[in-house]
Amino acid sequence: MSEFERQHPVASVSRALSLIRGNFITILIFLFVGAQSDNFPFLWWIGGGFGFLLILGVANWWRFLYKIEGDTLHIKSGIFVRKDLYLTKDRIQVIDVTSGILQRLFGLVRLDIQTAGSSSRQAAIEAITRDKAAEINRMLRELTNSPTGPDSDEEFRDDSPAEPEVVKTIKLPLKELLVAASTSGSFGIALSVIATVFSQIEPLISESELFEYLFGLIPSQTDTVMIITVVVVFVVFAWLLSFFSTLLTYGNFQLDVKEKEVVVSRGIFEKKRITVPFNRIQAIHVTEGIIRQPLGFATIHIESAGYGDDKGTGSIVLYPLIHKSKILNLLQEVLPDYPKELEGIRPPARAARRYIFRSAFPVTVITGFLYWQLDLNIWIWLLPVISLFWGWQKYKDAAIGWGDDILLLRSRRLSKSTAYIKKKRVQDASMQQSPFQTIRNLASVQIFVASGDRGKSFQVSDLEREDGDTMLRQVRKNGVKTPDHLPEEPHQRRVLLPGWI
């Protein structure tokens, strides 16, 4: 592939569609303005606007050229301002193959190539045939397969297999998928989406006869019953929405473990395929959500530098839902070089009241204010009681641990999160002491790993100051290679991490 090539023409349509999606608000405003004026027919606005976008799309498609020269992918793009993008093979973090509905109609795929840094979002080939994608993928992967970047000479060995063997394939059982869908965290988002939609159409409904009719249907006329009914209907709708969206996102989930990389593919309508080389994984991070934890389920994420999705985070779902007793087995199969069980230390007992205070204080103040101002029901005081319990839970879940080349941080905000970080992947490590922590000889540690555009931090608060120091020492390259000895006497502070069994 030494000549510049264009994408499949469908790229122009998908480009136009993504422009619409990106400027949705602006378009909406234009539509309203258009609807107001009488001398300009409404349909003309829509037709003209879409035509304009289509022309933009075609121009973009015409001016977008790509080729592979040696070990770089060279992309030229931009209608007036030309942009030359060179992606070197050994800097590529993730190769991502998606096929949306439009692409699937024509048997095409979208290829995203991610490097560390934010400019990588432009490095997307919107629509190419499956074969071409496979070819590019293969050419770029030859090197991402080799263990480290610099030894680029080795990649041209004749015996290197064209298609790396799939060592293991792990699928998501139907039962897990259903549990994942019904306990999905996007519940809240769905609720707000529905509330927004309702607030938009509510005036329409209340003016119509339908509203009167519905009112007639509800037997009791009291406001409380009405409100409860509305809330219940909302919640049920939100739940259904999140249920089906999770089902569609994580349906057909499959995890292929290859020799040098792991491939996550998922999605029913919009298929997504993410390839992450093992040596680009920055951290493993297991979350147990508040609904899922009592059921014993958790989600496994991996952090990868440069996998920039729209939010700029680098978290990739490695496995959407798994029973906690099976996590270690799964990690053992997929990422055997991450040590699994470690001895760890919890914050000392005197930190407990800080944890409880921190979560209970703001809740109590806000509740008290609302109670005083709004004359609320006495039951509102359950919230501070719950927050007391919550603070205690946070204290119970906080812990750190370390091994020869690994750090483990466990903490809780709303959901409990357990992070495995290789020491050599730590971008920076900090220890902080507020005045009150200084008095009590406590400290908080925070560790940053590269992930997406901005990196991701993991934090554990109110540890014994000496333990914080040990943690920092662990990060030092020339630091203690063997694990520091854990403090001798307070064995109630010692825990076996990650504690999923």
């Binding site: 973090q93 970047g149 002491q433 200084t438 992930s451 990196g455 390259k477």
Partner: protein, 159 residues
């Protein structure tokens, strides 16, 4: 465990911080001024405005005459072949460790105020975070930058 040798930052920085705080914290006097503009200065409101103004004045004075000195006193940095170690904070103490193999780039920066005092700020970026060593003598800053980039090249590894 041998601790690396810690350096202090250049004392002239205190003056820069003093001038900076003098100007930027003037803003806080806008709060009682706005309050007075809305509610007037009569009776109860007079005491609110006076009280708030005097508290702000005291804090303003502290931020000019005390805090820059303490901040300077608590700022420490150490650089060796393996890592950069930063200690700072008067009330909230922070210690940060940056492995040199993780450093992506180092810059020196200089605003007009810093240039007047012949000072520079060294900025250290990793793939996740950015850290600053404020107020080093321009010559020292250049040396620190060169030192870090030399060490970083030695410690080169992939991201």
């Amino acid at each position: 465990m041998n601790e690396p040798a810690f350096h202090k930052i250049t004392p002239r920085t205190i003056r820069v911080w003093q001038i900076g705080n003098f100007i930027s914290n003037l803003f806080f006097f806008a709060l009682p001024a706005a309050y007075a503009a809305v509610f007037g200065m009569n009776g109860f409101h007079f005491w609110v405005v006076t009280g708030v103004t005097s508290v702000i004045f005291i804090l303003w004075m502290l931020s000019i005459f005390l805090m820059p000195y303490l901040a300077w006193k608590h700022w420490r940095y150490a650089i060796n072949e393996k890592e950069i170690d930063l200690k700072r904070g008067v009330l909230f103490k922070t210690r940060t460790l940056i492995p040199l193999s993780r450093v992506q780039h180092v810059d020196t920066r200089q605003g007009p105020l810093l240039r007047w005092y012949n000072l520079s700020t060294v900025t250290i970026s990793t793939a996740a975070t950015t850290h600053e060593i404020p107020g080093l003598d321009t010559q020292i800053a250049g040396r620190v930058r060169r030192q870090i980039s030399t060490y970083a090249r030695l410690a080169e590894e992939d991201v």
